[in-house]
């Protein structure tokens, strides 16, 4: 294999495995814990590199994991025995452990440590790749197998403990796996940008979907894509750093997901909001027309909005004649449903939620747009199909119901 193929394969595996673990890191709000770990393992890495001349990756990994454990124990101790807030304790552990690492580097001058500081995909050799492959396989097999348990432990540890899960075991296993992945990806992207490979793909995936399995899958894909794209771009020019380009490629994917992600992306949510507000405005027009039919002259006149009226005409809910705007029969049904929901909800608020009759209108004005058929039926059943609202106005019944 050529050096580029090595690098591409490493980036692919790395992106996949860090995306997978990163999705748990993000939902557990541990993004900066990951950052802390990536700095805290440095003394261990230096010690490992200094003690074995042959640079056996396994020994480096073990001593790095020991340093990571020490770092998080220190953090827990600080939180327990001082009044430092979590953010300060985290920053403290991160920077002081890093300083220990730097002091050790300047004294011991171990070979190959620069790859861990700055990241060099090219420095990843066959042994590292085998280790990376093994870790990726373990993650890709184990995590889907234990997915439900891991979800439960991540979201509600107390409940998981009640169910008799070995929560502590899961926490420790996850922590160890995370440290191992951090140490391995440090060689590729460097000490600072490990956080980017962990957090950015997962944060991007959160824009796209609500479900955790899908988040994990998308994060894997994004991490792999970003990593490979970064290696490819850096191979095009000379003297372009690989790690930062991998991080930047992933950040571009993040921005893309932030714009277009179906769940919370900027454009989809804007369109959704627009559509909803247009629906509500349309429903308000229908309701105003209905109320005008009920008691002519008492209702605020319509503020005509040409586009809205055209759209409602096209939907077949209103018709426009020379005398003005009128509801069609299907529009009338629609408006009846709205008014019925409004008045039933007012009734519900006064009877069950101890609202005063003069406080319920605004609440109902909002609720009428969000109560669907099923809820309306439930509401009717609960209230015993009343015929008057708290203000003494009749609650209209739906024509279909009346006829059936």
């Amino acid at each position: 294999m050529t050096a580029l193929q090595y690098a591409l394969l490493a980036a692919l595996l790395l992106g996949t495995v860090s995306g997978l673990l990163g999705s748990f890191v993000v939902v557990r709000r541990m993004a900066l814990t990951g950052d802390m770990l990536s700095h805290a393992v440095l003394p261990g890495i230096v010690a490992g590199l200094a003690w074995n001349e042959s640079r056996n990756p396994l020994i480096v990994l073990i001593s790095a994991v020991i340093a990571g454990v020490l770092g998080s124990l220190t953090m827990n101790g600080l939180l327990r025995f001082t009044k430092l807030k979590p953010d300060a304790a985290l920053a403290l552990v991160l920077s002081v452990f890093f300083a220990i690492g730097i002091a050790m580097i300047s004294r011991l001058q171990p070979a190959g440590v620069l790859a861990f500081l700055y990241g060099q995909v090219a420095a990843i050799d066959r042994r590292d790749l085998v280790l990376l492959l093994a870790v990726t396989l373990v993650c890709v097999v184990l995590i889907p197998l234990a997915f439900r348990q891991l979800c439960l432990v991540s979201f509600d540890a107390a409940f998981a403990r009640l169910l008799g899960f070995p929560v502590r075991f899961f926490e420790i296993a996850f922590f160890l796996l995370l440290t191992i992945v951090i140490v391995i990806s440090m060689q590729a992207v460097g000490v600072v940008l490990v956080t980017a490979m962990l957090v950015t793909p997962a944060a991007a995936a959160r824009f796209c979907t609500h479900s955790l399995p899908k988040t994990a899958a998308i994060a894997c894909g994004m991490g792999a894509l970003g990593g490979v794209a970064g290696v490819w771009i850096s191979s095009l020019g000379n003297n372009l750093p690989t790690g930062p380009l991998m991080a930047l490629a992933t950040t571009v994917l993040f921005l893309g997901a932030g714009l277009l992600g179906p769940r919370r992306g900027w454009i989809p949510s804007m369109l959704r909001r627009k559509r909803e507000s247009r629906r509500i405005a349309g429903e308000d027009v229908l309701k105003t027309l209905w109320l005008h039919e009920e008691l002519p002259g008492l209702v605020r006149p319509l503020i005509p909005n040409e586009r809205l009226l055209k759209k409602l005409t096209a939907s077949g809910w209103i018709e426009r004649t020379t005398t003005g705007v009128h509801l069609t029969s299907s529009g009338h049904d629609q408006a009846t449903k709205l008014v019925r929901t409004h008045r039933l909800w007012e009734r519900y608020l006064t009877e069950y939620a101890a609202y005063k009759a003069d406080h319920v209108h605004d609440e109902a004005e909002r609720a009428e747009h969000w109560i669907d058929e099923k809820r309306l039926a439930e509401l009717t059943a609960k209230l015993g199909d009343p015929s008057w609202d708290p203000h003494g106005k009749p609650i209209p019944s739906l024509r279909k119901e009346a006829s059936s």
């Binding site: 993004a31 009044k83 985290l90 730097i102 600072v192 980017a196 750093p241």
Partner: protein, 296 residues
């Protein structure tokens, strides 16, 4: 250990400059850093320390030297942009704060490194600076003659940053006090918390630039957080805290020099290790009485 060990480091002028620079850097970082700790914004300090890099590189490209105000302006701008981007992602995008911080500062840092590589021929900035600075080389850099004394430029740079930090906390003392501890009262008395937060972040970015050459981006986080964390073990008064931060800065600079001579290692790292030793000593010596009462 004999007496020579304690006296030897002071025989050369260079080591005096080293200690002075380290102390200035520590004080410059510690003062705004204590407000970051008090406001629970230490991680914003972490993010800023990494994300000033593109600002520094661009400032360097404009000015062409390491000690110009353009660097500070560029760094302050990119630090401020980072915090704004984090806020935007958090408030508007619904991204959680820690994830937003992780995404933004790594992106800014990568941009900085890529710029540094692209303009490597024009930017005479040691890439090692990015992760760990080098006090010794910084002190051996250019010198300016003041009277008969040849003062290294870095001493003047860090000294003026320390003065800036001291001016910042003394001039804005009451404003910072009220906005840190009681934002609603501050708002009522027409002291905008948002404004003092922006000033605080800009000053943080400025002091981080000074720390960049001496201890590097990551260890400057230690200089921001450690002094305040140490002094908060001893006192609960803001004025005492700030005074303690200055003392901590001096002590860790002196201790750092001894540690570096003893261990023969990077001076920046040993300044921080000396500071951490002070923290541990205070932790062991001053058990807070309140926590004892709670345990009883």
């Amino acid at each position: 250990m004999n007496l020579d060990f304690w006296i030897d480091p002071w025989r050369s002028v260079t080591s005096i400059w080293l200690v002075v620079t380290a102390a200035f850097t520590a004080i410059a970082c510690g003062l705004p850093g204590s407000f970051l700790v008090l406001r629970r914004m230490s991680l914003a300090g972490d993010a800023i320390s990494h994300s000033v890099l593109p600002g520094i590189v661009v400032g360097f490209l404009i000015a062409g030297s390491l000690d110009s105000p353009w660097l500070i302006a560029g760094a302050a701008l990119s630090g401020w942009l980072t915090v704004m981007a984090i806020e935007l992602l958090h408030r508007r995008g619904g991204v959680r704060e820690d994830a937003a911080t992780g995404v933004v500062f790594t992106a800014m840092f990568s941009i900085g490194v890529v710029l540094l590589r692209l303009f490597a021929s024009k930017v005479d900035l040691d890439p090692d600076c990015v992760l760990f600075g080098n006090l010794e080389t910084a002190v051996h850099g250019s010198q300016i003659a003041i009277g008969n004394l040849a003062v290294p430029t870095i001493v003047l740079l860090t000294g003026s940053t320390a003065l800036l930090a001291i001016a910042f906390v003394t001039l804005l003392y009451h404003r910072l006090l009220s906005t840190s501890f009681d934002p609603s009262l501050a708002k009522l008395t027409a002291q905008s918390p948002a404004l003092s937060q922006s000033i605080l972040l800009a000053v943080t970015a400025a002091v981080v630039v000074a720390a960049f050459q001496t201890v590097g981006a990551i260890m400057s986080v230690a200089l921001l957080v450690l002094p305040a964390a140490t002094c908060l073990l001893i006192t609960r008064r803001l004025s005492h805290l700030l005074l303690g931060v200055i003392i901590h800065g001096f002590l860790s600079a002196i201790g750092g020099l001894y540690l570096a001579t003893w261990l023969n290692c990077n001076l920046g790292a040993s300044v921080i290790l000396a500071g951490a030793t002070l923290f541990i000593a205070c932790l062991l010596r001053f058990k807070r009485p309140t926590s004892v009462i709670k345990q009883l």
